[in-house]
Structure formats: C-alpha cells, structure tokens
Symmetry: C2
Subunit: 220 residues, 2 copies
C-alpha cells in the first residue's frame, strides 16, 4: 500500500460502465492514478482516453489493472461478479477490494433486490477472495452526478461496510476525496445486504420525485 492516501493507485474493474467510469473520473480529479479495467483492454483504453482531462487515467484488461493497483474497486455487472472475482482471486490477494455492486432486478414496477446466496454481493466477494481485505462502499452514488462536469460537489454519505477497521477507515477517507461526500462507517459485512438493496428504494424515490437521490446520515 502507498504511504499516503493520495499515492494510492486505484483500479476499477468494470470501469467502462457508468458507475465505475464516474468513480474513475472523480478519483482522477482528486489526484489519484486510476486504472480502468474491462474485459476488453481496447475498450478500457478508449474509456481512459475519454477521461484524460480529469487526470492520470489508464486502461487495460481487468486482470492487468488489478495486478498493478493498490486498491481495487469492483463495479462490474452483478451477472459476471462471482466468475470474475474467482478468476482474479490470486492477483487480488493482499489488496483492499471495494465492492460497490448492487444485485438488482428490474420489471415494470421498478427495481427490486435479488436474493444472494452469500447474503450480499460484498459477502460473495469476501467468500471467493479469502486473501483480500474486502469492503463494501459506493453503492448509492449516482453515476449521472459523478460524470456531470457541472456538478462539483455531491450531496451524499457513502456507507462503508466491513469487518477490517483499517480497511474501512481507508475507504472512508477515499470516499471523502469526492467533493461533498463523507465516508461513514455503516456496519459489518453481514449488514451489507440492506445497503446494496436500498439502491432499489433510491430508484423508486428518483422516479417519484424526479431526483438523483442519495442519503445523509444525521447526528454524525
């Protein structure tokens, strides 16, 4: 791990998707070296070039960027989540892995939480990555706001979940590098399911109020 938070190189698996891309942009703006990962190295490089104005952004295949980073954010679709992480277990060993995947289904009535055998996406990650320090975070960030150049600060608390205090502290500090955002400890991994699933409620709230809703924790 790098000595200073700002020296941490961040890889984002699934960094060509909206959520991963938005986080890549914000962490590059905060001064981090950011490595966008994708199944396709070409698409990752194209996405990195599109973010060149934000700072130091490079692209590569998921396994290559994971190997080179200090901290790895998992922002892949739920569908391929378990298979990808199982494949990368060796290269992710010893690293902090931040899972921000929301297992959701969608139908005419909106979004709903999918059942997850391990309890939650982040618990699934912990199960297949026994050598990694797995944390859950960034579930509720609006990709639209992360990517909007007219939005400087984001009115959001990022809930950080995990059983490893040093790792959750670091991810809280990382979250706070996005202007407006606080990183708030949100509980142990066993209580991550409801934070992931709550994204379905935010979808419903966004629809009802025509908003990009997030949450703030009060009295903290």
């Amino acid at each position: 791990m790098a000595d200073q938070l700002e020296d941490v190189t961040i890889a984002i698996l699934g960094g060509t998707g909206d959520q991963g891309n938005g986080l890549a942009r914000r962490f590059a703006l905060a001064g981090h070296r950011v490595l966008i990962g994708s199944r396709s190295a070409d698409r990752a490089q194209a996405a990195a070039e599109a973010l060149a104005d934000a700072g130091r952004v490079e692209g590569g295949a998921n396994a290559d960027v994971a190997a080179e980073a200090d901290l790895v954010i998992v922002a892949v679709p739920w569908d391929g989540h378990k298979a990808l992480l199982t494949d990368l277990a060796g290269v992710l060993a010893g690293k902090i892995v931040v899972d921000c995947v929301n297992p959701l289904g969608f139908d005419k009535q909106g979004a709903y939480a999918l059942p997850v055998e391990e309890g939650s996406a982040v618990q699934q990650a912990a199960a297949v990555l026994p050598g990694s320090r797995v944390v859950g975070a960034f579930h509720h960030v609006s990709a639209k706001l992360l990517l909007d150049p007219s939005v400087e600060a984001i009115d959001l608390d990022v809930l950080v979940l995990g059983d490893d205090r040093e790792a959750t502290d670091l991810v809280q500090a990382l979250a706070a590098r996005i202007p407006g955002v606080r990183g708030i400890y949100g509980g142990r991994l066993r209580n991550a399911h409801q934070v992931e699933a709550f994204t379905a409620n935010l979808v419903a709230i966004n629809r009802r109020y025509k908003a990009h809703a997030g949450i703030r924790v009060t009295d903290v």
Copy 2:
C-alpha cells in the same frame, strides 16, 4: 377515516414500548387523539396517564384501541407480531395499518437483520391483513429522541413504503406532523425489507459515532 388529518385518531399497538410510546407522545403533541394499546389494558392506561401532559392520550387493550382508531400503528416486538395481527385481522379490516417493526437479532457484534418468510415485517402484516391498507414507516425513529422533552425537532426523513398511493400519502403527511421530520415515499412493500434491516446499520453507526443517527434523503 376522519375528514382532516388532524382529526385522525391513532391507535398504537405496543404503545407501552419505547418506540410506540415515543410516537404516541409526538402525535399527541401534534394534536391527535392517541390510543395506546397493550396486552394489558392496565399498563396501557398507566402509559397513557404518564403522557397526559402531551395531549389527548388514552389506553386500552390492543383489540379495543384498534377498533376505535382510524389509523393503527404496529409497534409490537417482532416476536409476537404475526400472532397479534392474525388475531386482530377482523377489527383492522378497512383501516390503514402502519407497521414500524424491525425484525432484528442482537449478539456480541451488534444487531443484524433476521430472515422473514414473507420478506419483511410489513409484508407479513399485509399477508395476514388482506382487508387492511398496510403501509411501512417509522422504522428509523429514535425512541430516545421521540421521548426526550428537550428535543423539539427531529432531524430525520421517515421512509414510507406501500402499494396504496392514498395510504402512503396520508402516512407521509402524518410523519411530517413530528417537527423536523419529512415523510418521503420510499418504494413498494417488496422493497421494505432493506429499510427495516437498515435499522441494524443505524445501531452500528450509533455505536461507532456515539450518535442517535437517522437518514435524510438528498435531492428531494
């Protein structure tokens, strides 16, 4: 149903517990006639007398107060939830029933969500009360803040969940009668589990930050 929101008589099943008692106090302060229900009519009456300074509060057996009210709040322990509501299904038919029960377990590591066959406490209520208009709300209110006479306004959004628009609108308006509180639509009943379970995260947050945490929804 009463013509005006302030004319709604509210019964609180389990109104001698901290959460129910705190809601009883706040709704009495807001001008409502409040009926505290308990298994023991004597204890309910004693609890009502203790709240006499707040306004019009009466006490009685759960079935009796449910029969007399326009709107019934369910604040009983999770343990007896299904049995009580099954018993009262007849008397609750046609009424708005607001479930605020959080099915939680506790161990040395804190609180965690219990699995619920129907998905959530409020879905269980809807299953055993097919003739009622069932809404979920008030899951995250701090009983301590509700009961503290030095706390005038509470910094909290109450998430209101349900499939009946008229009923969720009314419960949102009811929530807003507590100073500082907003009632925010939070999604359908199928997305209630995570709101109930999130109370376990608030317990973890309260422990970490020595707070009485709640949530606010941003951009709404």
